[in-house]
C-alpha cells in the first residue's frame, strides 16, 4: 500500500516537473533514482526554484535550504517524493 502511494506520488510529481519546466521528455522517462541536478536530469537552480513554487501550491509545503540537506531532497525523484510525503499539508 505504502509502495503504491509512493509510486502514484512519483508519477504525479514527475508529471508536474515535465509540465512546469517544459522538459523534453515524458514523465515516465524520469527514473526515480537518477539525480535531478547535474548529470542526471540536468536541472539547475532556476528549475529548482520554479518547481518548488509548483510543489508549494500543489502540496502546501515550503521548501527550505537550511532545514534539510537540499542536495539530498533534490537528489532524486524518489527522495523528493519522500520529502513531500512527510511534509505535505494538502
Amino acid at each position: 500500500m505504502q509502495d503504491n502511494q509512493n509510486s502514484a506520488l512519483q508519477k504525479e510529481v514527475a508529471q508536474l516537473m515535465v509540465e512546469c519546466l517544459n522538459l523534453e521528455i515524458t514523465a515516465d522517462q524520469i527514473s526515480p533514482d537518477a539525480p535531478l541536478y547535474g548529470d542526471g536530469l540536468g536541472l539547475d537552480s532556476i528549475d529548482i526554484l520554479e518547481i518548488s513554487l509548483t510543489l508549494s501550491k500543489r502540496y502546501g509545503l515550503q521548501l527550505r535550504s537550511d532545514g534539510a540537506d537540499n542536495q539530498q531532497i533534490f537528489g532524486s525523484l524518489r527522495s523528493l517524493c519522500t520529502h513531500i510525503a512527510a511534509h505535505r499539508t494538502l
Binding site: N22, E24, T26, D39, I46, R64, S65
Partner: protein, 528 residues
Amino acid sequence: MSPLISHPHAGSIVAFCADGPVTRQQFLSEAHQLAGQLPEGRHMLNLCSDRYRFSVGLAAAILSGKTSLLPPTQTPEVIRQVREFAPDVFCLTDNRQSSEGLSRLDYPAMLEAPADEIAIPQIRSEQEIAIVFTSGSTGIPQPHRKTWGALAESVRAEAQRLGAPEGSVLIATVPPQHMYGFESTLLMAWCNGFALSHAQPFFPADICDVLSRVPAPRVLISSPLHLRTLLNSGLVVPALHHVMSATAPLAVELAREIEANLNCPLTEIYGSTETGQIASRRPTSGPAWQLFPGIRWVNENNGLSASGPHIDPPVVMNDVIEPLSEDLFLLHGRMADMINIAGKRHSLSGLNHLLNSLPGVLDGAFHMPEETSDVTRLAAAVVAPGVQPETLFAALREHLDPVFLPRPLLFVDALPRNSTGKLPHSALKALFGDRHTWTVPKNHPAFSGHFPGHPVLPGVVLLEEALMRIADGISPDRYEISSVKFTSPAGPGDRLHFQHKTLPDGRMLFDITSGSRKIASGSLSQKS
C-alpha cells in the same frame, strides 16, 4: 584614499551571521588575522559562499595588496582558464567547494578582537582590488580590472538613490561573486555604513526566515526570478524598507505587485560587468533610467558608450539605448549577440564557437527564443552523427554554467543554412518553433461532424501534426508514416507532446503523449 568601511563606531554592526551580529572591531580584527595567513600569490579566487566570510576574505586581500578574481562561474574549465591567466592564484574556501587543483586556504577559525580599537584602513583609490571576467566571444574569459576608487564611487551613488538610513541591513539572494552582488551587497554595505546578512537565501521560505532574523530597516537585494517566486509563494514577508532588482528586466506589472504586496519602493539597477552599475530607475514611476552622477553617454564608432571618471576608456553597452536627456534614457533590449539568463551573460558567438569545437560535432548553432518571461532558455541544434546526447551534454557542462545548457538540444541532419552558408534567424526560429507540444484547439475544424457530443481528434489529423512536427527541420517531405498505433483518444484542450528518436537504419520512432497518457506511437521511414 578613502576608508575601507564607513561604520562610525568600533561597536557599529557590519554583519549579521548565524550566531549573531559582528561589530566593526571584530570584522577588522578578523580581516587582519586572515591577511596574516594568506599565501604568497598576488591573486585570490574567493570561493566563500558565506557572504560575511567572503567579505573578510576580500578585506584581507585588499589589506595585503592582493587582487580578488571574480570569474562568472566556477566550472572546471573556467578555473583552468583563471589559472592560466594568473598562475600564482590560490583560492579561499569555506566549505567543500572543489578547488580543481588550485592551492587552497580553508577559512580559518578566528580569535576574539583585541580590546584596543583597530583603526579603519585607508585604501588608495587606484589600488586594483578585483578583476571580474566576462565570457569572451572566443570562449576565453575577458578580464576587467576594478580599482577601489571606482567601485566605492558607484556604490555611494547607489545608496543615495535608495535613501536607506545608516544601519540598514542588506539581505541578498544574489551571490557576492557576481558583479551585481559584489557591488550592491559587499561594497554598498562597506561604503555606506550598512550591515550585511551572511546568508544567501534561495527559496521564498528561506528569504522570510533570514529577514525575520535581522532588525529593520531591511533592504532586499534580489532578481526578478526570486522576487516573482517570493510573491507567488503567498508567504508573509517581514517589513522591508526597500527592494532592489537587477540581472534581468523586470516587468512593470510585477514591479507594481511587488511594491503593493511588500509595501515598499522597488529600485532597479542597470549596469554591466565592464562598467559596474551606472543607472537606476523605479519602474512604477516610469520607464526612464537615470544615470548615476558623473556618468554620461558618448558617441563612439557606431554606438553609445558609457563614460565617466571611473569608466575610462568608455565602454560600449550591449544594449540598445535611447538617450532622452543628459541623464535619462530608455533601454530597448539587448544587442543580438549577447545573452543574459538569470543575470549570467554569454556571447552567442562564443557559445556557437564552443559547440562547434566539441568532438563529433560537424555543425551546430545555439538559438535564443524571444524572451517572454524573466527566464528564457536557450535551444541548440547540432549535426553530430553517432554522438550521444548525454556525451554532448557532459562536454558542454564541462565548459558552461548550467543555465546555458540548451533545452532542447535537437539532433538534425543539416542546419537550415541559406545558399551563402548563413543561418538566418528566422530559419532557426522555425526550427525551434514550439514543435514539441501542441494544445489541441477547442474549435479545431476536425471536431465538427466527428462523434457529436464526444469530440475526438481524428487519427489522420494527429498523424499530419506528427509528421509536420517531427520530420520538419530534419528533412521535410522525405519521410512517410510506415506504422502507427492509436492507444488513447485526444480531445479538445489536450496538451500533446511529440517525441521521436532515430534508429541506426534511418527509421524514426515517434510517440505522442498527453500527460501520462500515451495517445499514439509509430514509425516514420524515408520515402524511397
